[in-house]
């Protein structure tokens, strides 16, 4: 008999109607930027230009903050809490109704496989709105006193790895708590945020409650340093996060939360369920091409099962399907940008130069677009740069350990502290490990699982503040 060769199964693009150009979303309407500047957003899988996007300068940011302030003072903060909840429920339902469109658009603009945008990004984004819609009229029971008050106008800057999901993590709690927002999506992935602006219109959300300003780093800086902002929320690189912390240090009335990089340890003990651990390792580092701040980029394997786990992992990597993000059978999509690809290449070259062994399964890369094969580095030690620095790509560094204590020591021996994974059949070991790991999230026998009710955030250089759950409300309340 022959082989089962999957025929192409592309999700149709026809559900998305892209405009040639998009303006800024300020005061409930799309408007061009004051100075008329614009940039292009492309599909990283094909380098095709998708649309032209207005670039917000300081004057535009000022307009947006003013609109948000007016909306805060005139409508949103004075609205009965259950009315705020109604708007959020409405937005959540529209996100669900337009889920396929949003998924296709996310995969086009970001390069992630449609399977992930369809099954993870968009459903979770809707779930965040549903969850926080429920909180809107119950804040007095959240444990922050009888009448917790909103902060005012939130300036939010989000990354390109989960564009709509990060938007939901930022906007849903802010609105539920009674704040208004100015949000800047990443310059390489602005499209779903702009469709979200349309959704706000569709939901009849009062003008100015949500404002979207597109642009690059300068726009973001203008936003977070704007004196009219009461609250800064940033998700992105540690480098930019530190700059924001410095900038905001001179404006102490601003509350700041930062969700930054990570270098998570995924720890596999000798009694782990091997086949599921391998799935967890793959999901930990190759999910979303490794563009995940909490990615399990350091695999710590107990030395006694090292060869078994590595053999199983290599075999499994051989079945990963890399290619067209819109193909429903694609497991690994495109790297988000040329700049990110260059960074992944550079750090991988450093890994080789420092003596680690590099391995990738046989894997044909498309000619156009930005691509990097799933990659393993073995023979990595704590001293290697690829074990210390965040690569933010599909590159896994494999290290070994001998005892639980050594695993904890190595896992914690990093400037970051966002997440960790523990794989063992022994419940007591899971508890022992998770009470010692300095990471905001510890997954046991799973990885990269998210839920709006579960707080997420980091230790050390992974940032401060929590998003999601009851804890996440605190960042948007005056408590």
């Amino acid at each position: 008999m022959g082989k089962l060769e999957y025929a192409p199964a592309p999700e149709s693009r026809s559900i998305v109607s892209l405009r040639e150009s998009y303006g800024l979303f300020i005061g409930g309407e799309f408007t061009p930027s004051v100075d008329g500047r614009a940039f292009k957003t492309i599909s990283p899988a094909t380098e095709e230009v998708l649309a032209e996007i207005a670039e917000a300068g300081p004057a535009d940011v000022d307009r947006a903050v003013t609109a948000a302030r007016q909306a805060y003072e005139r409508t949103w903060a004075g609205l009965p809490a259950k009315e705020r909840g109604k708007y959020l429920f409405r937005i959540a339902r529209i996100v669900q109704e337009r889920a396929r469109e949003l998924a296709v658009l996310e995969s086009l603009d970001n390069g992630k496989p449609i399977r992930e945008s369809r099954d993870v990004d968009i459903p979770l984004a809707a779930a965040h709105f549903f969850y926080h819609a429920g909180w809107a009229d119950k804040l007095e029971y959240a444990g922050y006193g009888p009448a917790p008050r909103p902060l005012g106008v939130a300036g939010q800057v989000i990354p390109w790895n989960f564009p709509l999901l990060m938007l939901a993590w930022k906007i849903a709690p802010a609105l539920a708590c009674g704040n208004t927002v100015v949000l800047k999506p990443a310059e390489t992935t602005p499209l779903t945020a702009l469709v979200f602006a349309e959704i706000c219109q569709q939901a009849d959300l009062p003008a100015g409650v949500v404002n979207i300003v597109t642009g690059a780093g300068d726009t973001g800086r203008a936003l977070v340093t704007h004196p009219g902002i009461d609250k800064v929320a940033f998700t992105g690189s540690t480098e930019v996060g530190k700059q924001i912390a410095r900038d905001c240090a001179t404006q102490p009335r601003k509350k700041v939360t930062l969700e930054l990089g990570g270098k998570a340890a995924n720890i596999v003990f000798e009694d782990a369920p091997v086949d599921q651990a391998v799935e967890g390792i793959v999901n930990g580092i190759f999910f979303n091409q490794g563009h995940v701040c909490c990615a399990g980029s350091r695999l710590l394997v107990q030395e006694s099962v090292y060869s078994d786990v590595l053999a199983a992992l290599r075999r499994r990597l051989g079945t990963l399907r890399l290619g067209d993000p819109l193909d429903k059978n694609t497991d690994v999509g495109a790297i988000n940008s040329a700049a990110q690809l260059a960074k992944i290449r550079e750090l991988s070259a450093v890994g080789e130069a420092e003596g680690a062994q590099r391995w990738s399964p046989p894997c044909e890369l498309p000619v156009k677009g930005f691509w990097f094969p799933p990659t393993l580095f073995t023979g990595v030690t704590q001293a290697h740069r690829i074990a210390r620095e965040e690569i933010f790509g599909p590159v896994l560094s494999v290290l070994t350990f001998r005892t639980p204590a050594e695993a904890v020591e190595k896992a914690n021996n990093t400037p970051y502290g966002l997440s960790a994974g523990v794989w063992t059949d022994k419940g007591s070991l899971i508890l022992w490990m998770s009470s010692r790991l300095r990471a905001g999230v510890v997954w046991a026998n799973t990885f990269n699982k998210f839920d709006p009710s579960s707080p997420f955030g980091g230790y050390k250089e992974s940032g401060y503040g929590r998003e999601g759950g009851r804890h996440g409300l605190e960042a948007y309340l005056d408590v």
């Binding site: 008999m1 022959g2 082989k3 089962l4 060769e5 999957y6 025929a7 192409p8 199964a9 399977r115 099954d119 009694d271 782990a272 369920p273 091997v274 086949d275 599921q276 651990a277 799935e279 967890g280 079945t319 429903k328 059978n329 059949d425 026998n445 799973t446």
Partner: protein, 312 residues
């Protein structure tokens, strides 16, 4: 007092240590993996290939108290020529019947390459003496069965008497020498995936040619997570012992879509070596017509009604 070796704790203790030393199965993770593979989208050329391959892997089955020679003859006719309107439709792998009707099936499919599988060992519960079970096996083979689908003693397995289960499979293996032995684990009664993995290894170590999920008489019968764990077991067993063992999910697979999901599971768990009726079978009856309907749809672009496909 009986001899020390008669106590279950000592007899077969190394077998127990081995089976309990196998890596565990995390049920949540296994189910998630199976669900992810079930979301694969199999279209056009791949679907055409998968439909024909699935037909060629079917053990077309009738295992009812009301089975008669006439019913078995009709089943065999269907097995030989599943779609009377389309001679290009492949024939199935085997017909599967009770031992007392094996001779009818054997006469009907003689010379066609279709195998005659007979359930034996007091199918489906397996609750009788070893002597009776072995007699059952010999009766089936004598009647013309060249494949024997035996059931394991689930009671002994769940009581931890692994050596007893092993010895029984080994005895059946010996009694059925020269025929193809499929060992039914009845995973719906073993319940946990850890048990499924252990029973799979136990059956393979005792000489099974195939491991099969279910009798079809217990719910749940075949499921994707259970089949995933069994596929992992045959993959690991071949890596360790160099012998390839087949897998047969049976019971509850009725739609072409489900059959294709099983093929995807095989493809991405053990690879193309198992994508062959010699190494993967599907125990089913009504599935065949759905595969044929989908096959006709692929060829003509239209769905036709069930009246255009034969019963049995």
């Amino acid at each position: 007092m009986s001899a020390l070796t008669d106590t279950p704790a000592v007899a077969g203790s190394s077998l127990r240590e081995f089976l309990h030393g196998l890596p565990g199965v995390d049920q949540v993770g296994a189910e998630a993996r199976a669900a992810m593979l079930a979301s694969r989208s199999i279209k056009t050329t791949a679907k055409r290939w998968a439909l024909d391959t699935a037909i060629s892997m079917i053990d077309l089955t009738t295992l009812e108290g009301q089975d008669t020679p006439g019913k078995v003859r009709a089943l065999c006719a269907k097995a030989k020529r599943p779609d009377p309107a389309d001679p290009t439709a492949p024939k199935v792998a085997a017909v599967c019947v009770y031992p007392d009707l094996a001779h009818v099936a054997a006469a009907e499919v003689k010379g066609t390459g279709i195998h005659v599988a007979s359930v034996a060992t007091a199918f489906p519960s397996g609750r009788t003496s070893l002597d009776v079970k072995l007699a059952d096996v010999k009766y089936a083979i004598g009647a013309g069965a060249d494949e024997v689908d035996m059931v394991i003693d689930r009671g002994a397995f769940l009581a931890g008497r692994y050596q007893r289960v092993f010895d029984e499979i080994a005895a059946v293996r010996e009694a059925s020498a020269g025929t193809h032995l499929k060992v039914i684990l009845e995973t719906g009664e073993l319940v946990t995936l850890d048990n499924v993995r252990r029973a799979s290894w136990l059956a393979m170590l005792a000489g099974a040619d195939f491991i099969k999920t279910s009798t079809g008489k217990v719910t749940p019968a075949a499921t994707l997570p259970v089949t995933l764990v069994m596929l992992e077991a045959v993959r690991d067993y071949r890596a360790a012992h160099g012998r390839q063992v087949g897998v047969k999910p049976a019971g509850g697979i009725r739609a072409a879509k489900d059959a294709i999901r099983y093929l995807v599971l095989v493809n991405e768990t053990v690879g193309e070596d198992w994508l062959d009726p010699r190494w993967f079978r599907i125990g089913a009856s009504s599935l065949l017509n759905d595969l044929l309907m989908q096959r006709t749809r692929m060829a003509t672009g239209r769905y036709s009604g069930p009246d255009y496909f034969t019963l049995d």
